[in-house]
């Protein structure tokens, strides 16, 4: 049962920020409602004021320029990202990820900003975006700030967003040369939150021999989308082969900190981190070799 609340709809960022200030004591932002309404229905969240930003048109966009890369408005729905030719061209891994994120109905409502602001470590976009070195833009009446997405996640369902602050934009830099990002989630049935997911980005050197840079990000394997930094270090400067990939998987598994729940035990999750990391890193490596 959803408790009563005051409903306010904003149509601009400015209006939203004003409302956030006004309702400072007790509010919740709602965009697509795909995550929030579940919590409200279960009585876990019962805000006094609900501020609806779904109609803030200026927060729904996908822009790309060859210098600065990609900018996605926080209120852009998943479906739009999935169907965007720009994203398909420059960040194809996002399209693949979106296709397996929830059902079409949920993707038609749910937004990328809502997904990140929800702070669920099992969310799909987080790991890919962190692996791609994404930043997020946040605005309040006082200021605007930009944060690496990696620092945005604080704890389970907790983000760096402060009171009065709105997530407005997700920014993806141009991928360095010879770089590729790969992603996979393991779920029991398709289009379901992952039991574990792994995103890997790999940059290889000019001669296409060694790994120049690497990022490994684990989903649903800790309280936040987690970078497996020691595993990354094992790749950097190395020539990648099957043996190395296997030990990278093992290391990532050691770095992970998953829980046991009704869907999987901790042991199984650790195992999945291991195999998925190995598999996804291999895929990223191969894609990177083929990349420009």
């Amino acid at each position: 049962m959803i408790h009563n609340f005051n409903y306010r709809r904003a149509t601009s960022v400015e209006e939203t920020l004003g409302l956030l200030e006004k309702c400072k004591e007790d509010y919740k932002i709602i965009c697509g409602g795909q995550s929030l309404l579940i919590l409200m229905r279960q009585g876990l969240v019962a805000p006094e004021n609900l501020i609806d930003i779904k109609s803030v048109k200026e927060m729904s966009y996908i822009d790309y320029d060859p210098k600065n890369g990609l900018k996605i408005g926080a209120a852009t729905i998943h479906r739009e990202i999935e169907k965007s030719p720009l994203i398909k061209k420059y960040y194809p891994v996002l399209v693949e990820m979106e296709k397996n994120l929830a059902s079409v109905q949920t993707r038609n409502w749910g937004t990328i900003g809502g997904n990140l602001a929800h702070g669920d470590p099992a969310g799909d976009p987080g790991p890919i975006l962190i692996a791609s070195n994404a930043t997020v833009k946040m605005a309040s009446l006082e200021r605007e700030r930009i944060l690496p997405l990696e620092d945005f996640f604080i704890d389970i369902f907790e983000t760096a967003l402060e009171e009065g602050e709105l997530l407005t934009e997700i920014q993806l830099p141009i991928l360095p040369k010879k770089t590729a990002v790969a992603y996979e989630k393991f779920s029991i049935i398709k289009n379901q939150q992952g039991i574990v997911s792994v995103a890997v980005s790999i940059t290889i050197d000019e001669d296409a021999v060694k790994c120049k840079d690497a990022r490994i990000v684990l989903g649903a394997a800790a309280a936040i989308p987690l970078r497996a930094k020691e595993a990354e270090q094992m790749l950097i400067g190395k020539k990648i082969d099957t043996k190395l990939l296997a030990s990278v998987g093992k290391k990532a598994s050691e770095e992970s900190d998953p829980v046991s729940d009704i869907h999987a035990t901790e042991t199984y999750r650790r195992f999945l981190v291991k195999t998925l990391t190995t598999k996804v890193a291999k895929k990223a490596w191969e894609l990177a070799k083929a990349a420009n």
């Binding site: 049962m1 408790h3 579940i38 279960q42 029991i188 049935i189 009704i262 199984y268 195992f271």
Partner: protein, 755 residues
């Protein structure tokens, strides 16, 4: 002339248009003038004494009209096995003791849902927590907490089935195998949750709109527990948004809304939330099975012994039936020269378990079919061959239990064999598993103690030839309305469109026991056929005068044409004859009745469906993840009435049964269900469905209308077993613990590697 003009043609649901255009009014949609909204306060303890309930604060909340507890009831224990008073053990509003988390303790009516919900928080219940017991194998132990006074060691019901000399059979066996299995629970997950609108008027009449599989049962049960006369209660259930076994017992929405309405003389509506639906309605029975089988070297079955402990939950519900059926279907569909079954239903401090599509048979079939493949593998016999060797056949008598009349099992095995061969060499890590199964076409035993025929129907033919067909059967989406209209049209010889069907209202529909146990096609179908046949006879009396055949038996009606059977071109329009006939009867429409009750048909059912299913699946050898590829079913439901209906049943059953096999479960912690929502409870979705195909094997069932038998529940029986066999053939491991999750496969693969 074609043998049938209506039967065996694909017909869309008779109420399909009303449903897809949104005009079909479900109970959920009903609003009455002055209607109040009710909510139910439920126990948060698995086992506790109720010391006191203070409702005064809740009563004082503005907008609250009434707060009732067990003290405001007649204090009767009710149950659906009415013939056995000791099995009627549920008060619905607990007075002294709660036995599961979710058990109702108080109910509120208020001007809106929010107020009612708020009032629940203001009710103060003083509990004295008692130690609980949650697993049947624990609950049955000496010294375990006891739920009900009369049930020592928590044993609720026991069942014994035996034939042949089992011990001798094992003596003679070349190979004996024993296994333990654990079958999990499952939620029905109807799209429409349990709900009711009760409307009691000062004249002393109670009308209840509700979502049910049997308006007749609900009427009788409500009358009894409320102290009303049977016919002062009217139950209306025109549309039911899914049942699957969850909606033919009296539920908390029906009882509490009625109680509140009687107190207030105002309509009260209660709709259970999805969470209540998961935690506080009944569910599939978890079972712990021990199965031992003895066979000859060549695979001939000799002796089988099965013992089961079922998790009953807090009350009996339909548990006694499930316990018998699982034992009976454990031997199915094979010839076991000797068989011994002992079933124990054990009370536990968990939500009661009861009827769910397949009714104990999916559990039994999973264990039996998994074990048969293990035996076949051990003996080096092909899975098809071992089943063929021991398959039931037409005329087979299950000693003391049942006589099999029609049985197309052998043809089903042929078809599946052919399909498997057509698949050729399979890729690595892929397997095809099969499972053979059968099911009943309605039950025989009168545990409800009804004085009525099991099914009845009334037909009225009007001046324009349109037929009003009144049935007691309940359509909950399975399509029985369409089936009944088809049977009526065929027997009467009119067009499908000529039938106007009336159902779902105890005030003007004859009694039928309802839509459970796959009984409607055969039982209600027989009653409809009888009524139609009698109505036809009346029309033929008039036609005889005009066509002067040799004798009246030479006449028939088909597709609106009354004709001489030998010379079909000689005839009259049905519509013309009806007009004249009614005029001749002083303007009285033609009326006829039909009924059906099975007599002397054994212990279980008058007829059995049969089938064989093959499931093809990939298993990732690393992670254990299972991907369904194909599901093919060869099915004998006698004469198919509506091919579209059978297809719908098959696809729905497949989704439900595959869910049972590998994704659905209700994990608990001390009696608390941990996934009471549709995010954590994993139903298969459209994207998960494999290719499905149904191959009909037509037989003629002498006991069924036009030779038809069930096609509803049986289809849920084979899938978990076939899936487990597919995993076995893909990987060499056998999972005996449902659901077959990737993690279980993963662990078993790891074990196997160690060895």
């Amino acid at each position: 002339m074609k043998k049938y003009t209506v039967i065996n043609t694909p017909v869309h649901n008779i109420d399909g248009i009303a449903k897809i255009t949104g005009r079909a009014k479900y109970t959920f949609d009903i609003t009455l003038p002055r209607m109040l909204h009710g909510k139910i306060l439920r126990s948060s303890y698995p086992h506790a004494e109720i010391l006191n309930i203070d409702t005064s604060k809740a009563e004082r909340l503005k907008g609250v009209k009434a707060v009732l507890t067990g003290k405001d009831t007649l204090g009767l224990k009710q149950g659906i096995w009415r013939r056995f008073k000791e099995l009627c053990d549920e008060e619905i509003l607990a007075r002294d003791k709660v036995r599961y988390i979710g058990e109702p303790v108080a109910t509120v009516a208020a001007i809106d849902e929010d107020t009612a919900e708020e009032a629940l928080d203001l009710i103060e219940v003083e509990y004295k927590p008692l130690p609980g017991v949650f697993e049947p194998l624990e609950a049955i132990k000496e010294g375990a907490p006891q739920l009900h006074e009369q049930a020592e060691r928590n044993i609720n019901v026991t069942r014994h089935i035996e034939w042949g000399d089992v011990d001798d059979g094992f003596q003679k066996a070349d190979y004996v195998r024993e296994d333990w299995f654990r079958c999990s629970s499952q939620a029905h997950v109807c799209m429409e949750t349990h709900c009711a609108v009760a409307d009691y008027t000062p004249e002393g009449k109670l009308t209840v709109y509700t979502s049910t599989q049997s308006h007749y049962y609900i009427k009788v049960l409500l009358a009894e527990i409320l102290g009303l006369r049977e016919n002062d209660v009217r139950v209306i259930s025109r549309y039911t948004g899914g049942g699957f076994g969850s909606k033919f017992e009296l539920d908390s929405a029906q009882f509490c809304s009625s109680l509140l309405s009687m107190k207030l003389c105002q309509p009260v509506k209660i709709v259970l939330s999805r969470e209540e639906e998961f935690t506080a309605t009944k569910r599939r029975t978890p079972m712990f099975y021990y199965v031992r089988s003895g066979v000859k070297k060549d695979g001939t079955f000799l002796a089988k012994e099965a013992r089961v402990f079922t998790e009953g939950g807090a009350y009996t519900a339909m548990g006694a039936t499930a316990l018998y059926l699982t034992g009976f279907f454990q031997s199915f569909p094979y010839v076991w020269p000797s068989y011994r079954y002992d079933g124990y239903r054990v009370y536990t401090n968990t939500a009661p378990t009861s009827a769910m599509r397949g009714f104990g048979a999916p559990q039994a079939t999973f264990c039996a079919e998994t074990q048969i493949d293990l035996i076949a593998d051990e003996l080096g016999i092909d899975p098809i061959e071992i089943r063929r060797k021991n398959a039931m056949y037409p005329g087979y008598e299950v000693p003391g239990q049942a006589t099999i009349q029609s049985c197309g099992l052998d043809q089903c095995l042929d078809k599946i064999d052919g399909w498997i061969k057509s698949r050729g060499e399979l890729p690595r890590h892929r397997g095809i598993g099969i499972a053979a199964y059968g099911f009943m076409s309605g039950g025989i035993f009168n545990w409800f103690d009804t004085p009525y025929a099991f099914s009845s129907a009334v037909i009225q033919i009007n001046i324009d030839g349109k037929v009003d067909l009144f049935v007691g059967s309940q359509d909950m989406g399975q399509g029985s309305n369409t089936t009944m209209a088809m049977i009526c049209a065929e027997e009467l010889g009119v067009k499908f469109e000529d039938i106007r069907l009336h159902m779902g209202d105890t005030e003007n529909c004859p009694v039928d026991l309802g839509a459970w146990g796959s009984r409607e096609t055969l039982m209600q179908g027989n009653a409809v056929k009888m009524a139609a046949s009698k109505a036809k006879q009346q029309i033929l009396e008039f036609a005889t005068a005009k066509l002067s055949p040799n004798i009246v038996y030479d006449l028939d009606i088909k597709d609106g044409w009354i004709h001489l059977i030998a010379r079909p071109e000689r005839g009259l329009s049905y519509y013309d004859v009806v007009k004249e006939a009614i005029r001749g009867k002083e303007g009285q429409p033609i009326i006829a009745r039909g009924h059906y009750t099975p007599h002397r048909k054994g212990m279980i059912s008058p007829a059995y469906s049969f089938g064989v299913q093959a499931v093809e699946a990939d298993v990732d050898p690393e992670t254990g993840k299972i991907t369904l590829k194909n599901c093919v079913t060869a099915h004998d439901c006698g004469q198919v009435i509506n091919p579209l209906g059978v297809k719908g049943q098959l696809e729905g059953a497949m989704a439900m049964a595959a869910g049972y096999g590998f994704t659905e479960d209700l994990p608990m912690d001390e009696g608390k269900i941990l996934n009471p929502n549709l995010v954590d409870y994993m139903l298969l979705r459209a994207t998960e469905m494999p290719e499905t195909e149904v191959m009909e094997v037509e037989t003629y069932e002498p006991e069924g209308p036009f030779g038809a038998k069930e096609a509803g529940e049986g289809l849920t029986n084979p899938t978990a077993g076939a899936l487990s066999n597919a995993v076995f053939h893909a990987t060499g491991i056998s999972i005996k613990n449902l659901p077959i999750t990737p993690e279980k496969v993963f662990n078993a693969l790891k074990e196997k590697k160690k060895k």
